[in-house]
């Protein structure tokens, strides 16, 4: 049997206020944006294999899986999302991966780079405190 190729969007969900965004709400918002931009054809083309696989509101990262080909319709609709579940929010595409494994590897690298940038901006006192905290967390493992 021929395998069904997929693409995984790694997106950053940025809510305007401190709100808890559900996975289903994000999925509904994407479908609505695709329907507005590409109509019934767009929705029908993207429906097979379309899922929000992972949504972590603390890290603001979400994975969206779509079949390869119609993923371009979703890609064009993602920047047009302005509301998720009635709350003002935007979606920013960070990366497009071909498997969940590579998506998680990218997210790990992405967070490491962000932490490195954050460490560079810390003062020496803050840096010492951060190192102590980091050692404490790592020793617990």
């Amino acid at each position: 049997m021929v395998r069904f190729k997929k693409r995984y969007f790694i997106v950053e969900v940025i809510p305007k206020s401190q709100a808890h965004i559900q996975r289903e709400e994000l999925q509904r918002a994407i479908v609505e944006a695709v329907k507005r931009l590409h109509g019934d054809f767009g929705v029908a083309a993207t429906t097979p294999g379309f899922h929000v696989k992972y949504c972590n509101i603390k890290t603001r990262i979400a994975f969206i899986s779509v079949g390869r080909g119609p993923h371009q319709l979703v890609a064009s609709a993602l920047p047009l999302i302005t509301k998720i579940g009635g709350q003002a929010a935007t979606v920013c595409t960070i990366h497009l991966a071909a498997s969940m494994r590579h998506a998680f590897l990218f997210v790990k690298r992405y967070h490491e780079e962000k932490i490195k940038k954050l460490e560079e901006s810390l003062t020496s006192a803050e840096m010492n405190h951060w190192k102590q905290e980091k050692d404490r967390i790592l020793s617990r493992r």
């Binding site: 590409h38 109509g39 054809f41 064009s76």
Partner: protein, 117 residues
């Protein structure tokens, strides 16, 4: 010899609807609105925002000649084929769009009709 790709396609569309059901008189502007709405439902704003010109409209027999960009021709023809109704003054009126002729040359629409009467 270099052949030039046509930029526009012309469609001779026949609108089949009941005149009694219409809440207002069908005008050229209204025809453009309902045709755009049909494309919008099927293919969204990406396709419905592209040019769609009404060159001729005969309200008695429901004949419309439209001009569309050649890149959007297939989508418009597909959307009109499957459209079941048109929304006029908040009322859904059943309509059948049948494309009688389509050509990249407007003059060829003046040729013999291939319609079974």
């Amino acid at each position: 010899m270099k052949t030039l790709e046509p930029r526009h396609w012309y469609l001779d569309v026949h609108m089949d609807y009941s005149h009694q059901d219409l809440p207002c008189k069908m005008t050229v502007d209204l025809v453009q609105v309902v045709l755009r709405a049909a494309v919008d439902t099927m293919f969204g704003e990406v396709s419905s925002s592209l040019p769609l010109d009404i060159l001729k409209f005969d309200s008695k027999c429901g004949k419309v000649i439209i001009r569309v960009p050649s890149s959007n021709y297939a989508k418009i023809r597909a959307a009109l084929t499957v459209c079941p109704s048109m929304r006029v003054a908040g009322k859904d009126i059943p309509v059948v769009y049948s494309v009688q002729q389509a050509s990249s040359c407007l003059l060829s629409l003046a040729g013999p009709q291939r319609v079974i009467v």
